[in-house]
Subunit: 144 residues, 2 copies
Amino acid sequence: MECELCRGAGGTLLWQDGYCRVVAVDEPGLPGFLRVVLQRHVREMTDLDEAGRARFMGVVFAVEAHARRSLQPDKMNLASLGNLTPHLHWHVIPRWRDDRHFPGPVWAVPRHEGPVPAARIEAARRMAETLPAALAACAQGAEP
Amino acid sequence: MECELCRGAGGTLLWQDGYCRVVAVDEPGLPGFLRVVLQRHVREMTDLDEAGRARFMGVVFAVEAHARRSLQPDKMNLASLGNLTPHLHWHVIPRWRDDRHFPGPVWAVPRHEGPVPAARIEAARRMAETLPAALAACAQGAEP
């Protein structure tokens, strides 16, 4: 298949059910960057029915809540773009005032230099470990 | 007030109810760029309760559906960032393969040159005109 999110997980698989999965994105400058990926190849949120949208966003917001509890970031960023890979996936990105792109979006040119605090990398590792338990209430079968 | 989305509409006001508003963003290279802005100053989606999130996303998806019907873009982009203005607002951005940033996010460096097709600008103008009727079913009072 041509779509990379049909062919592979799209990151380190942390959790999944029949409808969507959560993967960790390997971006060393942005610890805690996760993606929520629909298991099926669907292009736009408005191609899902209302129940499907609600279920997908329920997982996105559960991931945001877990990231906030685990990391206490300065801001959360959420985005569904998919221009290169038109297979629904949400970027869930914890942001800090000292991260390389802040206050710009992570896709804009970097504004700062400097290492990521070790404590933040460790907290992101723990967040990934505890994510399955935090999302247990979201797990359902394939249909919304 | 310090927050620009508490102080002003944040764009050309197209529609509002007691909970949120839709404004047109003046970005000449990106016709049809809209924002859905919460009327209250709230920082994160997970600071809203479940009913509030569902109501807000209901308007975001109604705007996306109207933009797709009106403009037939190649892709829709949705994002809630708020690093500079931490007052909940969703960017709803129709994208075309020939737009200046495609396939990058609109916040990345431009990749193309060239004028925006006149027909697209006209379609975006009509989309803004017809948005209130398209969102009539979303209108409610202040509480979710």
